[in-house]
Amino acid sequence: MTLSPIELKTKIIDSLKLQDITPAQIDDDAPLFGAGLGLDSIDALELVVMLEKEYGIVVKDIEEGRPAFKSVRTLAEFIVAKRPA
C-alpha cells in the first residue's frame, strides 16, 4: 500500500503550522531537520503526535523515529512499514 507524498506533506504542513509553503515546494528528499525545512526538536515531537493521530503509529522512543524523520521519503517509508493493517 502506498502513501501519497502530497498527502503526507500536507499533514506535515498542517500539524507543524508551517506558513508560506505548499506541499509542492517540499522536496521528497530534502532534509526535514537542520537545513532544508529547518524543523527543530519540538517539531520532531509534534510529528510523533501526528503519526499517532493520522496513521495510528505509536513511536515509543524518539530515537526509533530519528532515521525515519530524515526526509519526506524516509517518513513515508516508515509509515507504510509501521502502519497498522
Binding site: L16, K17, L18, Q19, D20, I21, G38, I42, D43, L45, E46, V48, V49, M50, L51, E52, K53, G56
Partner: protein, 195 residues
Amino acid sequence: MDKLTVTAASRVTAADLATARLGSRFGRMDLFSQLALLAVESLGINFDSLARDRVAICLAAATSSLATDVEFWKGRDAAGGLSPTLFTYTLPSAAIGELAIRHRLTGPNLCLVGGDALLLAEAADLIRRGEADACVCVSGDVVSAALAELIRVPATAGASALFLQRGGEGPHVLRENDRDIASWCAVISGAKNLG
C-alpha cells in the same frame, strides 16, 4: 541622572496578523507571541546599532498564558495525546523567548502577569541601574472565547510595545519624577500609535 527616551511605540490587534509575515515558524507560535512579535516589528528598531546583550525585554501579560493553557488542555484525550508545541507556549514568557530568538537579544528579561502599569517603571529601573542600555517593553493580553467563559472576562487580543533607551532621540523623554508614566502606560495598553 540618565535621560531616558521612548523612541518608538506601537499597538497591534489580531486583525493585523492577517498580513504579518515574520518567519516560517511564526505559525506555530501562540497568539500572544505572534502579537508581541508583530508589535515589536512595528517599532521599526534597528537592533544592529545596539549591543544585543545590553537590550532588555520586559513583558506584561494580563491573563498569563491562560488562553493557550485552555487550548493545550483541551487536547488531553486526542489521539496522539497532548501537543508538545502547545505546551511550550503555556508560559507568558514564551513571547520573550521568541523575541529574543528573532532579534538575537541576550540581555535581561522580566515578565509580569497583570503588571501593565508597572512595566515602564521596571524598564526604566533596569536601565538606570546599569543592567541594560535599552528595553523592549511589550504589554498585551489574549482572552479567547473559551477562556472568557472560564474566568468571566471579555474576550480580547492585542499587544502594545515601546522602545525605551538611555539617551536616544525621540519624541518623548521620561523625566525623573515623571508623572506622565501613567499616560505612557495608557499608550502601552491603549490605542494610540506614535509617529
